[in-house]
């Protein structure tokens, strides 16, 4: 059991990070540089026009300070988090932490809060500048506090994601991971920047409330909660795995993964104005679920180490076909379970209407079910393919598998989408979906009614392809089940497997 004192005040990992990063000299240098930046560079960054005539230099300067804070904390702190575990692995110090009696949650929180501590310190150094600009900005102190709260929760979610990435990273991927990370940094960064720009141009009232399933929530508490919830999922994954053997990472249990997918769908359907139409909600949630279930499926894939252990566990029962379809059963159940959420979540009468620019259709139940199953099979097909690739010998087999999949989809997109008009004949869309099942996300009732048989053929082809990849996967499993014999001829026969060990 972790008490708050152990987690925050007396957390050895947090204290270690603070001792390393917050030496008085380092703090003095950081404060001096921040002071110079906020006096000389930041005033020049925000053009007068962006603040508008509404609030003069104060708003512009305040926005500059807040954006500098967000960049420092999100990007600087994020990169520190991204290196928090991978660097320790590289330096061979991480095993010493894993073998201590620190609880996984203590280790996680120590890294999450400790690694970016210098970035937060710089953020704190910028507070006086923000307070100087505040009286001339047209904002109240409450508005400023609002922004800081949002920034803090966004940063925690993002940094938890960064620590999670750091945990799963192989050392050699660090540079690539930083670039990927900077790309993802845009998500909370953009939301914060948009908030700043909107508030700068139109006043705080412009971002006051958000309509969630017809209920009005204050903007900052709502998004702070959303960010905190994502942080909690990432921390859960960290807590489950941080002290494990890296070859045995399993970020979430299948049930937790289902919960994550459900939560993401719940937020998406309620936040984006889709809740007025079941048809729109289903299509919208499927677009989100392409990412969610692909990510969750990737998490469930077994590497060769895990597959070997699984095979040893199965020794007595033998290899079943169900194993060859891994992780399809879990993903299919997850897709179908979350797939019914649009039906449940769109039943509230107080849901806001869909925007007029969106094309809506009444719910067609058979179309709804077909889309759901087809979508699930498509995701499963690709995951069984990736699972097969992951077990193939050679360097970075999963990366190779993903690369081949990317090339496959890119080539077919060029073939089908560049040379074909957007408005295909219903039969053509169904035919193309055999190869590029993403067509199912744009299928409508007309396409369904006029080409149902072709759509069924496309559905059956997904099953056939999945079976084909499962067959290949099963062959890899069978080869793994045989113990490797890598004994060079220099090893005397007496020392080879099967020879009795001499133990006196």
């Amino acid at each position: 059991m972790n008490d708050p004192a152990a987690l925050f005040l007396k957390n050895p990992e947090l204290i270690r990070n603070l001792r390393i990063q917050m030496r008085p000299k380092r703090m003095a240098v950081a404060a001096a540089i921040t002071g110079i930046v906020s006096l000389i560079i930041l005033p020049a960054l925000w053009p007068e026009a962006a603040g508008g005539a509404r609030s003069g230099w104060g708003m512009g300067y305040l926005a500059s300070v807040l954006l500098f804070q967000s960049v420092t904390i999100l990007v600087g702190g994020g990169i520190a988090c991204l290196q928090s575990i991978s660097r320790e692995k590289e330096q061979n110090t991480f095993d010493y932490q894993r073998i201590t009696r620190l609880s996984p949650l203590e280790l996680t929180m120590g890294k999450l809060l400790g690694a970016p501590s210098m970035a937060y310190f710089i953020g704190v150094c910028l507070i006086p500048s923000a307070l100087i600009a505040l009286p001339k900005s047209g904002w109240s102190f409450g508005d400023l506090l609002d922004s800081w709260i949002l920034l803090f929760f966004g940063a925690i979610a993002f940094q938890a994601f960064a620590v999670l990435m750091s945990m799963v990273l192989r050392r050699s991927l660090s540079t690539g991971a930083i670039l990927l990370f900077l790309f993802f940094a845009g998500i909370p960064g953009m939301s914060f920047t948009t908030l700043m720009l909107t508030r700068g141009a139109h006043g705080v009232a412009a971002t006051q409330n958000i309509n969630f399933y017809g209920i009005s929530f204050p903007f900052t508490p709502f998004f702070s909660f959303v960010y905190a919830s994502f942080a909690a999922w990432f921390i859960l994954a960290l807590e489950r795995n941080i002290k494990r053997d890296p070859a045995m990472y399993e970020l979430l249990t299948p049930l937790q993964a289902l919960g994550f997918a459900g939560w993401t769908n719940f937020l998406f359907i309620g936040t984006v104005p889709l809740a007025s139409s079941r048809d729109l909600a289903q299509v919208g949630s499927m677009w989100v679920n392409v990412t969610v279930f692909s990510a969750l499926g990737l998490v469930l894939l077994r590497n060769r180490d895990r597959a070997r252990r699984r095979l040893r566990e199965l020794d007595e029962q033998g290899l079943t076909w169900l194993e060859a379809f891994w992780p399809a059963p879990y993903i299919l159940i997850g897709v179908i379970a979350t797939g019914f959420l649009p039906l449940l979540l769109t039943s509230g009468k107080s849901n806001p209407p869909a925007p007029t620019y969106m094309h809506t259709e009444p719910l067609n139940m058979s179309l709804f079910l077909f889309r759901l199953v087809f979508f699930g099979l498509w995701i499963c097909r690709d995951l069984v393919y990736l699972q097969w690739m992951y077990l193939r010998p050679g360097r970075k087999p999963l990366l190779r598998g993903i690369l081949y999949l990317f090339v496959y989809y890119t080539a077919l997109f060029v073939l089908f989408f560049v040379h074909s008009p957007m408005n295909l004949q219903p039969g053509e869309a169904a035919f193309q979906s055999i190869f590029v099942p993403i067509r199912v996300l744009t299928m409508d009732a007309a396409s369904w009614n006029s080409a149902a048989s072709t759509w069924f053929i496309a559905l059956v082809s997904q099953v056939a392809l999945m079976y084909f990849f499962a067959f290949l996967h099963r062959q890899e499993l069978q080869s793994l089940a045989t113990r490797p014999k890598t004994y060079p001829s220099s090893v005397p026969p007496a020392m080879r497997p099967g020879a009795p060990a001499s133990v006196s």
Partner: protein, 326 residues
């Protein structure tokens, strides 16, 4: 203290195309390490020593089999097992930006020692390991030998009954190695069970009570060091005669026909004679050897010394891994 049951670990090499492929780093190992031993694990690079140690510490999950430390299953209850273990890795690293006392303080808290006991424990270890003058120095400025000692201080800060040391003498200068061996003996006297790997077999022979020899993930030989050296030193006898221990007899003055006298004895073989004595293989018991010497002296041979020749661990290891003896 440590019980290894049918432990296997298979993994894949991720090197260049010529080095790829599955490897058995540990192949159904069975080993019992009793409390109070200094147990050496010997083998060439890639024999699976580090893998075995990491599985014992719960840092790697075995493909099959299990490890019990003090009766606790390491895989099932890693945190309970790890409180009994102090671990020092082969390519160890410390936190260079911390002060020496801060480093030990961190691990003292990480091992959940009582807050009020940590300062005393740190001072004790600094004195024990001769680091008291470096208490407030940055780790970055320590020599390799000092860093090694600090690593050991970290490993024993929670006073574990078992110490797992992977190549602890690698890269140390001769004096640091001497100091290190003394420290290991002191820890052994204090009741620690020590599992240690090293390529410096001479060092292991000096400090170990038992050894296990690994080759390509398999256990070739394990047991008490004296017994392994004795068995490993046996010379194959002539056709039809048992393997024998090697014996050297020294004569005070030349003149006695030792070769002729010894050749009459059926248990003597592989004889080399020079004016000062003879080296031969004796295929009997110690009592029979004593009888032989008594008879030799009775004939008037000027015997001034008899010794049983035991090979060094290095020689025995070399012969064992070449399959010359088992």
């Amino acid at each position: 203290m440590i019980r290894i049951e049918n432990l296997s670990k298979e993994y894949d090499l991720a090197g260049g195309s010529d080095k790829q492929g599955p490897v058995v780093a540990a192949d159904r190992l069975n080993l019992e390490i009793p409390a109070g031993e200094i147990y050496g694990l010997v083998g060439p690079n890639g024999a699976g020593k580090t893998t075995a140690l990491k599985m014992i510490c719960g840092l790697l999950v075995p493909t099959s089999g299990r490890v019990l430390v003090n009766g606790v299953d390491v895989e099932a209850r890693p945190e309970d097992a790890q409180k009994y273990i102090g671990y020092l890795a082969d390519f160890f690293a410390l936190y260079d930006d911390l002060l020496v006392w801060e480093y030990l303080d961190y691990f003292g808290h990480a091992y959940k020692l009582a807050d009020n006991s940590i300062p005393g424990r740190i001072e004790y270890l600094l004195v024990l390991l001769g680091l008291q003058t470096k208490r407030d120095a940055f780790i970055d400025g320590l020599s390799r030998g000092m860093k090694q000692r600090l690593g050991i201080a970290r490993a024993i800060i929670h006073d574990p009954p078992v110490l797992v040391l992977d190549e602890p003498t690698a890269g140390l200068d001769p004096q640091a190695r001497i100091d290190f061996k003394k420290l290991i003996r002191d820890l052994h006297k204090a009741g620690k069970t020590i599992l240690i790997t090293s390529h410096l077999l001479g060092d292991l022979q000096e400090i170990c009570t038992s050894i296990a020899i690994l080759e390509k993930g398999r256990l070739v030989k394990a047991g008490h060091l004296d017994k392994i050296l004795e068995e490993g030193s046996l010379v194959p006898g002539a056709q039809g005669t048992p393997a024998g221990q090697r014996v050297r007899v020294k004569l005070a003055t030349p003149g006695f026909n030792l070769q002729q006298w010894l050749a009459q004895h059926p248990r003597v073989s592989s004889m080399t004679v020079d004016p000062s004595g003879a080296l031969f293989s004796f295929g009997g018991t110690d009592a029979e050897l004593a009888e032989l010497m008594k008879a030799l002296i009775a004939t008037g041979a000027p015997v001034c010394g008899v010794e049983k020749i035991t090979d060094s661990l290095e020689q025995v290891y070399s012969r064992l891994t070449k399959g010359e003896v088992m």
